[in-house]
Symmetry: C2
Subunit: 872 residues, 2 copies
């Protein structure tokens, strides 16, 4: 059967969103519900793909279907495009999901020098007819022909100026005719031919223009930001025009069935009489609140509220609707599930369930997971933001609002914070040694690095707002000033950042606090009931653990033990350990670290109160911990009793060309077994202590960066022997698990063999993404932007898990691992563990749990629930 | 059926090598051929594995089987271990493959205070009996009980000194008794108990001792060097003793059926009368050439030569045989296929075919591929090497002998070479900028880096000897001297290196030249006939291409275009290109490079005379090309008309944290399409020129580091458009292919999708190994040695392809690629392409060809033939 490319509204329904686009599907649905919808047809998304496949042209088949649909439309309306009883149509795009403001629309199509006169006569309103015509010429020239809108607007402006008019409505019919004539001249001089009088040419050019808007730059950016594949394409809706600008009993409006900011159950919207839709958008005249319509046109208002109620019940969701009134008659032009803030989403979900309109599952599916972030962090006041411009923009690396004084070094940030200042830490990039400064800051700005750069990962873990990779600002070499939008900012100058948008603002922007109300708790309760995936947190400190626990985490999936070593009082013994040249010296330094590490674990175990805690052994290349300043070098030389020269020689010998693929992870425990011994001792001693205090702890020890069973076995032997030793010393028997991270491609490929030695797997999708792509996350930023611009990549694989490649390895790892051990516990503790679409993938891949930063726990819980509801 | 662990010689045969070990299988075979072999039995390799699995003990089952076998042996010989007609046995190890000198042997077992007297009586030779006893005590104490041999030897030395003896044979029977008594004292003081008189205890301890030798340090090292898995285990042979030291009609000897150095078809060996095997090894007495036996014991000699001839015919190969004569009666103690030099292997192969003993295929299988290297390079004179000690030892990174004066920088190497000196370049490590110096050197020594470090890869490509990663030498910071074995070497001091062993020698060691004689060509001819894999070369210069072609390469599988840019006259425009901040500047610099690159390609195409040439586009991170000295920086600043500060800022911005995973490969062509344009222009213009001159060229353009189909398509579009442009300009139509490297794990996982855009695949197993393991080849050396020492790894995955992990991805890539394109040409151009066991793997994986450095072409051809013969 040949594919069908064009559907009359009466032929479609709401489920055909993929084919007809959201707008088209809903127009069809409303038509079939018997609502007053102007007749029309939809040219479907497949036609858009066909258009691009055929070198940006419409096939004969599609042209034929358009002809047939147009003929049907003409029959339905009793009018004819370009005929004596002329049909006028709007041509609008409509993709599978709404992409507000991203694509264009052409209204009043069908007007030409002949039909304008008929319209004038029929409406008995020449001014209206010519105003409609000039609008059409303007839109067609701009949207379909790519001409500059400014050229057209300046014609109107000049005429208004010359006549002393202040408003568009001052323009007379004659003025409009003059304008129209100028418009046609502009068209001809641009295009080399006259404005098309052939209405069929108008229609086809308009359709193609809408298809082209699918690939305009802002649509591409929007798609990338919203994970929309280019292959979806857009549909085109061709619909009989109803005119809201026919006079004082005509108008147009938009309304939400409930308040999209708060979720309150009242009709919320606005309208404008004697206007077309674009007039509302343009903001020249101030629209009236929808409630006034009740007084102005009570019958229409009544009809409208009935329809709203019918639509809400039909769609079981809050609706966002456009309507037009033509000579006192109401027409519905669009309905869709309304966008809403996170707060509104939560309230509406709870209300819809209470009203019996939704089941809990249905209600959960209607909450846009991504928006939850805004509920969990301070926000810059959106009312204030409307009126100011950012001074710089980077990547939205960690959400929330941060306001404070600039500090350029970690040391200064700590000092300023001690003095009671709120601090924004501004760095070229951060490294492990900045941790303390980051801890003490309200926000972080970096010039380099991407969404999984050190700054981004750490900031998300801390719940601290971060704007990363702000490439168009410059910090001077001495770290004393930064230039943003031409202004110099020095230490102590105040800036505000919005980590959810990546914007940086001058001065202190007021903030609003998050509130987790009862509705939020209700929703989370439902989500926990329906999700299948466990949700754990990546947490390195008791404070993190507490936050995560309060947000609903069921355990800790990742303790990065190295993060415990950056505190000022710990870094020195850590450094001593690293520069040791004998096992004896190394053991001595490790013995200094042991009590600190043990105490950390005790606190974590207590904070998690018997829930599982997965502890990853030392992972990063050791040279990350080395002193960066001469003072620190001198201190270390003194502490280790070697000359500065000798120390530098040792430090030099630790240099690596590609540290990400160097001496790190389990490789450290294999070359220096004493590290694994110390860490095991700390874990087991801490666990026994806490057990003795009555909390039942079963630590999960996780060996990182394993690529072969032998590596894991080697380290596991050290762990088991040391644990045995400690248990004997303490005369206490303790259960614990030893598992591994699967974060190297070879580990996924050989997961069946590795599972023989592992009691659990945790996929480290950050490293796995790096190795699978051969991308260093610290360096890829330099070329990935070009990849997006050139449409080589559509997604940042560090943000959303790459299902085809990295995901295939995760699946392979799960399947092979479970072939060896059918009940193998498998988790994921990379950054993807808190990203909704990745969570859905992990659900489908059959993982046991995801682990993410504490502030993403609610998101992970809701995303897991949605994944379970959607896929089971 | 229960496993059988012990076999009488009469129960086995030569095919049971895996079970019985090489020695045991051949003893069984000779027994069944009716040759005079002393009776015995073999405890098989499975028993060795069982021994280790059971915590280093023998199971009841195995003990029972040993009892039974011993009983049978006693029946066969009519003697009894420890009995009145006592049986004496030797206990020798025998692994699946010969591991000469790696494991130990115990002779004369069964002697105790009682049986020594019986032996004295039976042999009528008390001195002989006590000498045998003291030898046994000595061997048993050392091998089975781990006591220090020196303690025993010094007893003999002291006694000889006190009596003024000069030879062992001066010792009287009484002396030997005194020595024996001292030996027993040493045993008791070490062990706390008397030397065991129970002959059964002696036997079982000896068996276990042999099993333990399998894991002694030198055996482990030997296995690693020779790719022998630990899991093979060793067998133990227990055999009736025949005594070569019974008097003047007794003796022992070793002989090869043909000359193992030259291959000449004459019996070659030596013997010693009145001696046991160890006397020959000890070198105290000088053995006689085997030819003298003809005069001394003509009947025995005749019998022996008959056996030799029988064995050669039976085994169809040159034999290496041990024998003992006891009172004028000949016994065969071992036969095996003899080790031989590469030259001998070639001659013997050709002779065996001419003699009708072997088919061509059989003859090919007998040549040890790895040894061919010695035929292709100069060698240090082995006679001289016997008498000198290396001053340093590193990794055998590129074979051959190099003798010359030390230079510490590339510049000095070039200058010294210009003055006619032969140069050995000594560097901490090499980088791209050392290429010219390496080109001008006879040999290269580096302190850092492994078998696939920059120095190693480039040296193998050049055929220049290289010793890499000599970690125990130190170069001073000013690069003016190096210390080796305590001696300071300065520029101009002469050293010699052997790149096949990794040894460095003081002064000029004489060298021998390689000869590729007619026999070699005959063998290569056979190999080409039977191999299935294509064999191509990695070659960057016309000279490389010529070498490869002469060695039999069927094309070039990899031209690394970046290697063409390091010459002194090219590096400047290359650098200008890299530091360009505008596309315009970059294009200008590229235009300078274009004619040079085109000319290179012309020469390569001409050198390969119509055979395929695969050209890889620019691959390494750009900052590899940047100036390293201030002078070069100043030159570049001048050439690019920017300030030195600005230049440094630009250079700084090119810094990468992990360059191996950074901005390189196809990522360069995507961010800077002008590079791919220039390279395409150079390829196509060169190909058209050469075609017009009558050589039919079809270039194969290879895009590196691809991880997604989109990347490949993006670059392929640039290539296709540029090629079209050039063909139009030149009015010439040319066929060419565009393919990709599969060297990133994701590319293997998504090979089906990538194959849609690729006309061929070439697996880059160097990078694939790095990414699959998460090992940087430049850094892994720091920990891989520990991995070997701790038996975590047995192989260097950069040397021999990791079949389980990397190999699984290669197979996946081939299968998925061919699912999309069934006839897809698939090659491999990593370093593994010249490694014999990897080549066998690639053959089995169904690849179309391997590509390796020119000097490994004959090795690849022979290895491919062997793989085909073995597997088809």
């Amino acid at each position: 059967m040949a594919k069908k490319y064009v559907y009359l509204f009466s032929e479609g329904n709401a489920n055909q969103r993929e084919l007809l686009g959201g707008k088209g599907a809903n127009l069809a649905e409303m038509t079939n519900l018997g609502l007053p919808v102007p007749e029309g047809f939809t040219i479907c998304t497949d036609a858009c793909n066909s258009y691009y496949e055929n070198n940006e042209s419409l096939t004969e088949g599609i042209l034929g279907e358009i002809d047939n649909a147009l003929e049907s439309l003409e029959k339905q309306t009793g009018k004819k495009l370009g005929g004596d009883n002329p049909l006028f149509v709007s041509v609008r795009s409509g993709a599978r999901v709404s992409m507000p403001g991203m694509m264009d629309t052409i209204l009043n199509l069908g007007l030409n020098d002949k039909t304008v006169e008929i319209l004038a006569k029929q409406s008995n309103n020449s001014r209206f007819a010519y105003d409609s015509y000039r609008r059409f010429v303007q839109m067609f020239s701009n949207v379909a022909m790519g001409m500059n809108l400014r050229d057209f607007e300046s014609v109107i402006d000049k005429l208004k100026e010359s006549k002393g008019y202040t408003k568009d409505s001052d323009l007379t019919c004659e003025d409009l005719k003059a304008i129209l004539s100028k418009f046609k001249e502009i068209y001809k001089s641009n295009k080399g031919e006259d404005f098309p009088q052939d209405t069929k040419v108008q229609l086809l050019e308009a359709v193609k223009a809408v298809f082209r808007t699918w690939n305009n730059p802002r649509a591409i950016v929007y798609r990338r930001m919203n994970d929309i594949p280019a292959s979806w394409g857009t549909a085109v809706n061709v619909q009989r025009m109803v005119f809201g600008n026919l006079g004082e009993t005509s108008g147009t409006g938009v309304a939400f069935s409930r308040n999209p900011s708060t979720g309150e159950n009242v009709l919320y919207g606005e309208y404008l009489m004697n206007a077309q839709g674009e007039d509302i958008v343009a903001g020249v005249r101030t629209p009236n609140p929808i409630s006034q319509l009740k007084e102005q046109l009570p019958d229409v208002y009544k009809q409208y509220t009935d329809i709203v109620s019918k639509l809400e019940k039909h769609y079981k969701d809050m609706q966002d609707m456009e309507f037009t009134i033509e000579n006192g008659k109401l027409y519905m032009l669009q309905t869709r599930n309304g966008k809403r803030t996170a707060a509104a989403a939560i309230k509406i979900a709870v209300d819809l369930v209470n009203e019996g309109l939704n089941t809990e599952k249905e209600a959960l599916m209607k909450i846009e997971v991504r928006t939850l972030d805004t509920l969990l962090h301070n926000q810059l006041d959106s009312k204030v933001l409307k009126n100011i411009t950012p001074i710089a923009t980077g990547l939205p690396a960690s959400p929330g609002a941060g306001v404070g004084k600039i500090a350029f070094t970690s040391e200064r940030a700590v000092e300023m914070a001690k003095n009671g200042d709120k601090v924004i830490l501004v760095r070229l990039e951060t490294s492990a040694e900045d941790i303390e400064g980051m801890h003490n800051s309200q926000g972080i700005i970096t010039c380099r690095g991407g969404m999984t750069s050190h700054a981004a990962v750490v900031a998300r873990g801390l719940g601290t707002p971060c704007v990363a990779g702000v490439s168009n600002i410059t910090i001077n070499d001495e770290n004393t000033q930064v230039e943003m939008s031409g202004k110099i900012y020095k230490e102590g100058d105040v800036v505000s950042i919005d980590g959810a948008t990546g914007n940086v603002y001058d001065g202190a922007v007021p903030t609003t606090s998050p509130e987790l109300n009862e509705d939020f708790k209700t929703v989370m309760g439902w989500a926990k009931k329906y999700k299948k995936l466990g949700v754990r947190a990546n947490a390195d400190t008791p404070k993190d653990a507490k936050t995560a626990f309060d947000f609903g985490a069921e355990g800790i999936g990742l303790v990065r033990t190295e993060h415990m070593f950056f505190d000022a009082d710990r870094i020195l013994p850590m450094r001593k350990m690293i520069v040791s040249t004998t096992e004896e010296d190394r053991v001595k330094a490790l013995n200094e670290l042991l009590p600190m590490q043990r105490e950390d674990f005790v606190k974590l175990f207590v904070a998690m109160n018997g829930n599982p805690v997965t502890i990853r052994y030392l992972d990063p290349p050791l040279h990350e911990f080395l002193p960066k300043t001469e003072k620190d070098e001198i201190d270390l030389a003194a502490a280790t009793n070697v000359s500065l020269d000798k120390l530098r020689e040792i430090m030099n010998s630790l240099h690596e060309f590609n540290p990400m693929m160097g001496h790190r992870g389990c490789r450290l425990s294999i070359t220096y077994p004493e590290i694994a011994k110390m860490q095991t001792r700390a874990v087991i001693e801490a666990a026994i202590k806490v057990c003795k205090d009555g909390i039942n702890v079963k630590p999960e020890i996780m060996i990182p960066l394993v690529c072969s069973k032998n590596e894991l076995e080697y380290v596991k032997n050290i762990v088991d022997e040391t644990a045995k030793e400690v248990m004997k010393e303490q005369n206490y028997s303790l259960d614990y698990l030893v598992g591994t991270m699967i974060e190297i491609p070879r580990a996924a490929v050989l997961a069946d063999s590795i599972a023989e030695a592992a009691e659990f797997f945790s996929f480290g999708t950050n490293d796995l993404t790096q190795m699978t792509y051969g991308f260093s996350r610290d360096d890829a930023g330099k070329f990935l932007n070009e990849y997006y611009d050139k449409k080589v990549f559509e997604q940042d694989p560090f943000v959303r898990v790459d299902e085809d490649g990295v995901g295939a390895l995760v699946k392979m790892g799960v399947e092979k691992g479970r072939k060896t051990k059918p009940n193998l516990k498998t988790g994921i503790c990379g950054e993807h563990g808190g990203e909704p679409s990745s969570i859905e993938f992990f659900h489908k891949a059959g993982l046991s749990y995801v682990s993410c930063s504490p502030y993403r726990i609610p998101i992970a819980i809701l995303a897991s629930a949605q994944a379970a509801i959607k896929n089971d």
